[in-house]
């Protein structure tokens, strides 16, 4: 019977612990805060995505609150770390919606998690601004669900246009076994034929892969004219080294996951000449002053790098875009959920880090092919690829 007493004690303990952990009832403050939830993969296998996103949000919220918040109301940010587990995302989404009654949710960082909570957010009539890229997030369109990351198909198109220009017709394709890699693989295999390009070999490697010599050997055996790698992992740097060490002088293309200078640093001289699409945040300092995004990306880059002493990445940029779109909508429409949702849906020409957003009731992504610029690596720096 001891066990029963213990069971009762355990239930009591759990209730008490959760009551203690639950946010204190909002005092009747004159200015009630706007609660924004964030479901991000801050640690774990997708931390390349979630950690910069969380840092960006924290930095931005502080900045905004220092200036008086939004419409005079401070923003209260609640960040939940899922470690890229969809079941945690589900639990946190329900918690944020039912319990914390957040105004909107930013994230999740990965497509798998986003799809897991898409219906939950819609049912809970809570605006969801996802930082992940899968097309199925906004197709079919759910009224409350938006995404701020550009479509993978656009990245693939930009790459293929360049390949066609360079006369490449036969490529080897490598991707990681993450959601990002998988989505890229789908788009690449679907779109390549339209550009007259044959994907001779398509290999998926483990995200933790530490050597891709065997895979590159397979590509070499297939006599490809160029190599395209699609991942967000350090494997991006590893594949470059493997290719150059094997003496393959082929052009190497990467996905927009390469848009973080740490991969260039890690690959050293092997990164020279790599071609990849990216949003302009990574070449902010090289944008002409007349470029519409210049002011926004410059400001974000300076603030982020000064505070966190690390290079900006497009992923952190997604979080910036998500929050600022929300803020803009609240400024336009006031703190009413339905009105803010419509405001986002009708937002046009919003300048973000990933590009210029123009939403519509049928387009909850808002970015088109101009969001991407083709870049290359020269002397260890990102530079726009010339004509």
């Amino acid at each position: 019977m001891r066990a029963i007493r213990i069971l009762a004690a355990a239930v009591a303990f759990a209730s008490a612990a959760s009551l203690a952990a639950a946010p204190a009832a909002a005092s009747a403050a004159a200015k009630e805060p706007i609660k924004v939830g964030a479901i991000l993969a801050v640690t774990g296998p997708a931390s390349f995505l979630g950690a910069p996103e969380a840092r960006t949000l924290e930095m931005l919220v502080e900045e905004l609150n220092a200036k008086g918040g939004v419409g005079g109301r401070p923003i209260e940010l609640i960040v939940k770390d899922t470690g890229a587990s969809p079941e945690k995302a589900i639990s946190f989404a329900k918690q944020l919606i039912e319990e914390d009654k957040v105004f909107a949710i930013i994230g999740p960082s990965t497509s798998g998690e986003t799809m897991a909570i898409k219906t939950i957010a819609e049912e809970g009539k809570t605006i969801l601004l996802s930082a992940s890229a899968a097309e199925v997030i906004v197709n079919p369109v759910a009224p409350h669900v938006f995404k701020v990351a550009p479509k993978d198909s656009l990245a693939a198109e930009v790459i293929f246009r360049q390949m066609k220009k360079m006369g490449i017709t036969r490529i080897g394709f490598l991707s990681s076994n993450t959601g990002f890699g998988k989505a890229g693989k789908e788009q690449v295999e679907k779109l390549a034929p339209a550009f007259g390009i044959q994907v001779a070999v398509s290999e998926v490697y483990d995200k933790g892969a530490t050597d891709l010599t065997a895979e590159v050997t397979k590509l070499k055996a297939a006599s490809v004219q160029a190599i395209l790698n699609w991942s967000t992992e350090p494997a991006q740097s590893i594949v470059l080294k493997n290719v150059r060490q094997m003496g393959l002088a082929l052009p190497v293309f990467q996905s927009h996951g390469f848009a973080n200078i740490q991969y260039v640093k890690a690959a050293g001289p092997a990164a020279e000449g790599v071609i990849f699409p990216a949003s302009r945040i990574v070449v902010a300092d090289q944008l002409p002053a007349s470029h519409p995004q210049k002011a926004v990306v410059d400001a974000y880059k300076k603030a982020y790098e000064a505070r966190y002493k690390e290079d900006v990445s497009t992923f952190g940029g997604h979080a910036w875009d998500a929050l600022m779109i929300l803020v803009k909508a609240v400024e336009l429409a006031g703190p009413d959920r339905a009105k803010v949702r419509s405001a986002i849906e009708n937002l046009k020409g919003f300048v973000g880090t990933a590009g210029v957003f123009s939403f519509s009731p049928t387009d909850h992504n808002g970015l088109d092919i101009d969001a991407f610029e083709l870049l290359t690596v020269k002397n260890g720096r990102f530079v726009p690829l010339g004509p």
């Binding site: 483990d206 010599t213 065997a214 470059l240 092997a270």
Partner: protein, 296 residues
Amino acid sequence: MTLELLLQYLVAGLTYGSIYAVVAIGFNIVYNATGIINFAQGEFVMLGGMVAVSLQRSLPLPLAVAGAVGATAAVGALVEVTFIRWLWKPSVLRMIVITIGLSILLREGALLAWGESVRSLPYFTGDEVTALALGGVRVSPQVLWVLGTTALIVAFLTFFFGHTMLGWEMRACASNRDAAALCGLPVRNLVTLSFVLSAAIGALAGAVVSPITYTSYAIGGGLAIKGFTVAILGGLGNSTGALVAGLLLGVLESLSVSALPTAYKDVVTLTILLAILFARPSGLFGSREASRLKDF
């Protein structure tokens, strides 16, 4: 498949295989001395790489590597003294679970200390693009460093266990602990030494392979499973077996990429492990009698 391609796969396989072998040898040293499978072995390899990278910012490369080896060896000693030494006749089950828990703690500690980013030492000779042409195959000089270091480790251990007093004492302790104790051998310290030794060799391997593979806080787990597969394959406790099994497994894994989708590379390794466990748990080179006597 041309000869050149085959050789390319072979070299890749040998490189990885030698790392797995070193991890397996580390498993074996501790297993022999204590009967424990130390799941934290993979984390020692990770620590070697991470600490070396941090030290290398202020020390010349050889000192950084030596420092990393020393620091990790100290961690190994600390782990043994704090968590293992004072346990009174622990069951094998308990020990397995404890070392699993320890490996998690070490990994999370590394995450706390170094963050999630990935890092590596500079290449010992040359850089990211240099490659030596050996008989039609292009090989990074770092690969030679890895193979050389593994050979050195094996040679050192052979000498140590074969020709030094301390090595003999450890062997005595491994073969019959109580008898060794009765003979007046400092059994407790020898156990600590086994942890120190396995941590040190793991760290050295981790440092020398990091330019090729990068280190981050999470690499320990995968390495432990691979190293463990190799240890069982070669016969638990048999370090020569571990060496051969490691190279064999590395090459098999590498060749499997030429035939199967890369996504299933790990599945190949693990299926081999299961097959061994089913058919011949004493491993390719282990003796059936010896494995029956041990608790595992």
